[in-house]
Subunit: 993 residues, 2 copies
């Protein structure tokens, strides 16, 4: 169903009529108004956008046609039209389970986190001093995960449960496996099917051999296993696995040298013994049911915990405790500056964008409910399951009899029914059950299920007319054989904020510590911190998008299907591709999915031996990491000194690997912020040698409407919808890494075990067929719940708005580059001197002459009220600035003024006026505490320290701590909440005691 303009737009006549609605969006999205735009163009030497674009984008790739998109809808029109789509989704009570559960989002968290730009517009906490709020909440998340799993180390979220399982598998392989030896990995048959699907995708290509079985069948005696994964409770609900206890299974695996992974559930763990008690080395799962809506599959936070021994092999971001320049405790991302955990071609993981916002929501949920609250919720969920089990059994059905927490199965053939009949009965009363096979139905309980829901289900699905839906307290207790011993969540943070007022203030206090887009520009190069408009965000929290299970029957999710199909079609048009998949839930996952698509295509042509992936030196770390995970051999291509791909070197390497060339990965415009002129020549060379071109679309914000990956000649490309297409960064996720492909690749896009609902069915054309293989996320459409954001953005801008956004993105960057050039060296520009939508300032010459580092400048910018641009990436010793189109002229000027003022502070060091160690640069950022101190012995004033520019007076942002000490923290890795005393002065500790 193509959604045509006519359906939604209140317009019977041509646009331009006086009755057109006034709430057009494009002008709200763009920072500069027309007048400012003209002045800025003039300032950089152009009469109009056309001439600027011509001078910036190579002629061969400049499109000659306009995008064919619907006419732009105004904000109210777009809201109305997406509403009518959302209303086609049927909100049912879900008893499906399988990793996704009905949950209640506490309203105070919904409104003050998920719907609050203070939380959702922040970036990954690269600048720790102005990110202590979300760092604290993420640390709370890690503490929660550690406490419930019983393991001591956890990461600050992974993408979902299934990818977390795959990450854990790769950890085992990295720690215990050797290619060709110990490469077996045991997979319990009772794992969630979607997790099995994902392990299958991930294992084969890197040489892991999956062995499926029941626990009792697993023969570890040959010692050739690196690991094993079991689900606890398993996908059918049982807490004891068939034939063997978790404990004895784990003992056997350990004896043979294999590690054991528990796929588990945080809610169940509030009542069940922690996996650590039976020896699990790693625990993974999803925190969805801790107050994050199902959202048709995502986004939610995956989790992973392990013991100290394995902490340094953990994938993704880890929040750790360290000290600041004053020796006070503070937080920052551990063991990494900018994603150094991505080990490029030696990578076992490529995760970058994670699920920070959702992890933060889950942590807030745990804090708000506290240990007692969580145990009540879990106890009630258990009681619901016990009552259902009791009543269905009473009615004569044959039931599974293992101890369970919230899920059990029913052999419905025992009463002459089929599973489909049961589901039909459930659906008729507004509920869904899980169909396991023709004769077997699964039921799972979630927090949101009411007594009436249960009654309705029992009646509708099982014909039980007058069930007894009462339960005494004993039904809240799990079987003693599996029950947890001892307290949960003893850290004070889980015992303080249980009234709404307390919670509100805690959330606010944390929010106030973080610099987000609601304060000032965040010019992180390559991150595209543009406006995340309210009207884009509004639909995300509608129940018709939130309360949908990813495996709900197709007829109930027509709104989602329509949305996804329409969005994919628009993205196909924008990228110049034939088909699009929305399954990857991050850019890095998109890369991985795209490379797999290429590999499968090559295989289909009988060229499965091709496995070399050429990647420029300048590429983002995720590129080689993804290639490695796709089982490819990474060969690095040099950059020339203009920053372009060294075409000579490229051709040399193409020649060398001609027979095995699978792909070339290229970011365009380059990670240096330049539209490389040689791009067509490069494309041709790769294709000529039989290779495919993978384009990293992180910089798509410079392409939309002016050129496209398809036009340039790429075969596949991922889009970070959380960059160009306005999904907010959420403080480090969520994201969506949709991939677009040329027609020949379309049949090889990711599938999903649920089959006909898989993305194959819905990619942007009729070229793809539904299939079950190749999933890269737990849910068929990945983080479906945030796709409305990008849909709204595209529909409200239309052809002209999108092109304008690109033009302004380029204009803003070039305007800033022009203002800063001279004071700083602008590294790398196109042949006419223009950058694309971002540019790099080289601080190395200044460092050489004064000792001032890029970090000094980054931290000093905090004193000026700004978030630093991207530091030391893609080139060490530099800052990369990307303003985006949403920043207005005054803000650009303020930022430039700050940078110029900093330059003169650098000069004061150069001229010997002030010593580096004594300078405001080296001592930045300046906290309130430092300023307040009577012992001010610096050679500059307090005003210079904290009020270095006039605009700050009206709206000062204070860094919460002094410069963080990364080395200290990495040496003493602590990634759970330290006791409160750690934050106090000795005096205060005494006071408390």
């Amino acid at each position: 169903v193509h959604i045509s303009k006519a359906l939604f737009r209140s317009s019977a006549v041509l646009s331009g009529d006086a009755l057109d609605m006034c709430d057009s969006f494009s002008r709200r999205h763009l920072g500069p108004n027309d007048e400012d735009g003209k002045a800025m163009l003039k300032a950089i030497g152009f009469d109009n956008f056309e001439s600027m674009v011509k001078s910036t984008v190579p002629a061969q790739i400049l499109t000659q046609t306009e995008l064919q998109l619907d006419e732009p809808l105004t904000e109210s029109e777009a809201i109305q039209s997406i509403k009518s789509m959302a209303d086609k989704n049927k909100v049912m009570k879900s008893f499906i389970g399988q990793g996704y559960y009905d949950t209640i989002v506490p309203p105070v968290i919904l409104r003050n986190m998920l719907e609050n730009p203070g939380w959702y517009t922040a970036y990954t906490p690269y600048q720790a001093e102005i990110s202590q709020g979300r760092l604290e909440m993420l640390l709370n998340f890690q503490t929660l995960v550690c406490d419930l799993t019983g393991l001591s180390m956890a990461v600050a979220s992974l993408l979902d449960e299934s990818t977390a399982a795959a990450e854990a598998m790769q950890m085992c392989f990295a720690l215990k496996g050797k290619r060709g030896k110990n490469n077996k990995f045991f997979v319990s048959n009772d794992l969630h099917p979607q997790t099995i699907g994902l392990l299958e995708t991930r294992a084969g290509v890197i040489g892991i051999e999956l062995v499926f079985g029941n626990h009792s069948d697993a023969d570890f005696t040959e010692g050739n296993y690196c690991g094993a994964i079991v689900q606890y409770p398993n996908t059918y609900g049982s807490v004891e696995s068939p034939g063997e206890s978790y404990k004895s299974f784990t003992d056997r695996a350990h004896e043979s040298g294999a590690m054991v992974i528990a796929a588990t559930d945080l809610m169940a763990l509030t009542k069940l013994a922690a996996p650590s008690t039976w020896g699990a080395d790693i625990a993974i799962g999803s925190a969805q049911r801790f107050g994050v809506p199902m959202g048709f599959g995502g986004p939610h936070a995956g989790f992973l915990a392990t013991s100290d021994a394995y902490s340094r092999k953990m994938p993704g971001r880890i929040i750790g405790v360290t000290i600041d320049s004053e020796g006070k405790p503070c937080l920052r991302m551990a063991m990494q500056t900018r994603e150094q955990h991505i080990r490029r071609d030696k990578a076992t993981s490529n995760i970058c964008t994670a699920q920070a916002l959702l992890a933060n929501m889950a942590a807030a949920y745990a804090i708000y409910h506290g240990p007692d609250g969580l145990k009540s919720i879990a106890g009630r969920i258990h009681a619901l399951a016990r009552v259902a089990h009791r009543e269905i059994e009473k009615a004569g059905f044959t039931m599974a009899q293992d101890p369970f927490f919230d899920t059990f199965t029913i052999d419905v053939s025992s009463k002459g029914m089929t599973a489909s009949q049961v589901q039909a009965g459930a659906e008729a009363v507004g509920a869904n059950v899980r169909i396991i096979d023709d004769n077997t139905v699964g039921l799972s309980m979630g927090e949101g299920i009411t007594r009436d829901d249960l009654k309705m289900l029992l009646a509708g699905a099982f014909g039980i007319v007058n069930p007894d839906v009462s339960a005494d307290a004993s039904l809240t207790e799990v079987d003693p054989s599996v029950a947890r011993q001892g307290e949960i969540l003893e850290h004070p943070i889980f015992r303080q904020h249980h009234s709404e007022t307390q919670m509100l203030r805690y959330l606010k206090a944390l929010e106030n510590r973080d610099l987000a887009l609601n304060h000032s520009m965040i010019s992180l190069g390559s991150c595209t911190m543009k406006l995340n408009a309210t009207s884009e965000m509004v639909p995300v929290t509608w129940p018709t998008f939130c309360n949908i299970h990813p495996f709900a029957p197709t007829n109930q999710v027509q709104g989602y299907h329509e949305l996804i199909k329409d969005l994919n079609e628009d993205l196909a048009e924008i990228t110049g591709f034939a088909a699009v998949s929305a399954q990857p839930n991050s850019g890095a996952t998109g890369e991985y999915a795209g490379l797999l698509t290429i590999m499968k295509y090559l295989e289909s042509k009988g060229e499965g031996h091709r496995n070399v992936c050429l990647i420029p030196k300048s590429a983002h770390g995720t590129n080689p990491a993804s290639a490695a995970m796709a089982g490819m051999k990474v060969v690095v291509v040099d950059n020339d000194k203009e920053g372009n791909i060294d075409v000579v070197d490229l051709k040399k390497k193409i020649d060398k690997h001609r027979d095995n060339l699978a792909a070339f990965m290229v970011t365009y415009p380059s990670t240096f912020g330049v539209f490389e002129e040689g791009i067509i020549e490069i494309m041709d060379a790769v294709h000529e040698a039989g290779g495919q071109v993978y384009m990293d679309g992180a910089n798509m914000n410079a392409q939309v409407g002016l050129t496209s990956p398809g036009l340039i000649g790429a075969d596949v490309c991922h889009l970070n919808l959380h960059k160009t297409f306005c999904i907010p960064h959420g403080g480090g996720g969520p994201g969506v890494g949709s991939i677009g492909v040329a027609a020949h690749l379309a049949p090889f896009l990711p599938g999903h075990v649920v089959g006909q609902e898989a993305s194959g069915d819905l990619c942007g054309s009729d070229l793809c067929v539904p299939k079950k293989e190749g999933a890269v996320a737990g849910a068929p459409f990945g983080s479906a719940a945030i796709l409305p954001i990008s849909w709204m953005y595209i529909k409200m801008n239309g052809t002209e708005g999108l092109k304008k956004a690109t033009q302004y993105a380029i204009l803003n960057a070039n305007y800033m580059a022009a203002r800063l050039n001279g004071a700083y060296d602008v590294l790398f520009v196109g042949k006419n001197g223009q950058c694309a939508h971002e540019f790099i300032l080289d601080l190395r010459p200044l460092k050489a002459s004064t000792g001032v580092t890029e970090e000094d400048v980054a931290k000093r910018l905090q004193d000026y009220g700004f978030h630093s641009p991207t530091m030391s990436w893609p080139v060490a010793g530099t800052l990369m600035i990307e303003p985006t189109e949403s920043e207005d002229l005054a803000e650009l000027d303020r930022f430039c003024d700050a940078m110029l003022a900093i330059r003169s502070e650098i000069d004061d060091i150069g001229s010997g006026k002030i010593k580096l160690e004594d300078s405001p640069l080296r001592n930045a950022p300046h906290t309130m505490e430092v300023i307040m101190n009577e012992k001010w012995d610096r050679p500059y004033t307090r005003e210079v320290a904290a009020y270095p520019a006039p605009w700050i007076r009206a709206n000062k942002f204070w860094p919460t701590c002094g410069r963080v000490d990364n080395v200290y923290g990495d040496r003493n890795l602590v990634c759970t909440c330290p006791p409160l005393e750690a934050y106090m002065d000795d005096d205060e500790v005494k006071e408390v005691a």
Copy 2:
């Protein structure tokens, strides 16, 4: 329809079952948990709540029964049940007009103001230094109103258009009238009917004689008119009034010494000549259509502007510019400390709570759209009306032909139709028109009307099948004879924030300047700053509550009727009364309405001569003001030195006025925070003399569930739903002042011109009959859109939760009083030494010995991160503290610690350790700027200044300016935005220039 528990609660078995939902609300609402509650009881010498209550509340009034309310719903149950109610409202496109128009709330404003606790939980900006954000936005509102009306002075909102008209009428009377002379007031027949209704209520009782007529009929020659009011454009849409131009009418009125009021419309004024151009002295109206949903009638901001000459007679709050202790410009409420504008018994207005939040939204709407945006919106609205007029005329209907802006009338009998038929046709296609009389229909256009809406209307209501709904630009221009000349909104504030990013940051920057409940406790005595829970707020912005016209047909508003009826019934139960009206949109309006009810009752008994109202000296200023407005004679009753009503004096005055005694007004517990023992004796004495007892229910938070006005013996009482029943204060409004009455008064509750929809139909019993007279608000149910908040609060708490709230409110106050007693004198307690839910600290002895004033303490508290308690009310030189039940023990302790620390700072002055002028007290509050200054020559450290307590380090709140200079500001009254340069240092001005 009584809403029974069974309808909504997911509960087939008794509560206490393990399947009960876990999200019960009461524990979220209360600050202290059970354990803390017990410890606190012990600390003040009680074993349990029962003994505390017995010791606090006089035995004769302590209830013996529990409230009969529905079982409490959990948060999710309550949301679900109010949703099912809301869904009974039918959202139609409204062409009704008559003061309420379809508008589009810009999403960035909706989410970041109306749905943001940072904006909605603040109180009236009594403490200017920590309120500069909303003070600035209110000043923007005043500037907007002044600019569009062409008058130089405006107030910071009134309650609605109709009450604004009445306030303006009283201004005229105060300025030009003398009782018995110049007491005529001309009212144009073409005023909105609801405004006429309200003028009728207000005029008679104070001796104003309304003369209705057409402009040309008005004969001012005898000079006995104090004023005249005309509507521009008038209620039928015409911009020229029948028979005479506004200008010549005004000239005639002026000649005779009468003032002229223009009831006008801000949207129209962006295109039409300002009322000042034709001589209006006062302009009033509603800012609803500037982005505030219709909400079935309210809340919205009324406005009032006048010229410099009359500024000191303006009613309500005025924001003015002044300077702070450093001589820098800043804002504060002008000409008043705590509501000194209320002139008690000489009052012409009693307005206290206004519509700050809605005024702020309207100002933000104007800022976001800017002059060009507003003119486009207005132009489009005009074009919609022109197209409709054109097409309907083309179809052969007889039409009004005067110049119009957005409204015109149609004689539908000209095509053989009746108005009801037209409405029926409109309703069938989802629209409403205005029925003016059997033959006449009115149509009004609003921003939210789309081209399709118009087409549908023309087809459905008028049978016009293929209308031409196109319009060229010429149709956006109003008739040149009435068009506005020159630019609008030239102040820079209206020209800066047009992108969403800009607007978001501006709103955030302002929010950051204001201390609201999301930061720390606001213990303003008598204001009841309790939790405004998210789940209470969520329904308020549902379209099914927002997008309903107050005069929509009854069948479309069944959800609202059900809600109001149910809430009124619960409030009747809680207050012990027979009937409740929700029409008054503030506490003060409730007082006025209640007193009128009494007067009408007395009249009905033939005792219309009774007009004396006894009021204790300690009463809130609104009490005598309301009595004066109700035409009563105020006689003041003394308080004894224990703070109680001096019963001897009371009886003396009863005796003296026995024959004319109408009413006695009493606040209970008293404004001194004490449950007076003598209350029953007082009641009896008044009743015995034939008087009625009016209870001011501002302190209802100490009564709910323990006693009630009805039980105590009052005849009528208003409830500030914005205090006890959780409607947030919004920075100074909205509010609801529901009144409850005993059975004999029920027939005299306010009516409304729309008749059968009037509150009479829906008061809490069958005792009242619908009637048209006596309206006290423009809409029949006042601020209906915020009633869901109180409904949710009551339903989620139930009998036990409400009683607990009261107990904790009393406990918290007594706990604090106990901690502070000794260090400060606690003034007035009950006979056993307990206060009620609030208490007064007497600072006069300390002032006498040290010179430290209550203002010093109030400002110093800001340095400690706290909002001051109520200052110098009800007793000069004191602070009155009301913690409410929502504050937890740790917060209460922090506040007490701050007060104790301040006490020792006072002692340092007393002991001569530091001089008053040099002390942190006198120099409070301390701003960042001051701290930053190198020239720190105070005898205390910067840390003492700004970090005086340990908890501040984690969460410092900075006052934006130094102590405001009230005298300076009142001497130089400026109540529109000053030019930007005023905020800059001389240096900066030069820089800019």
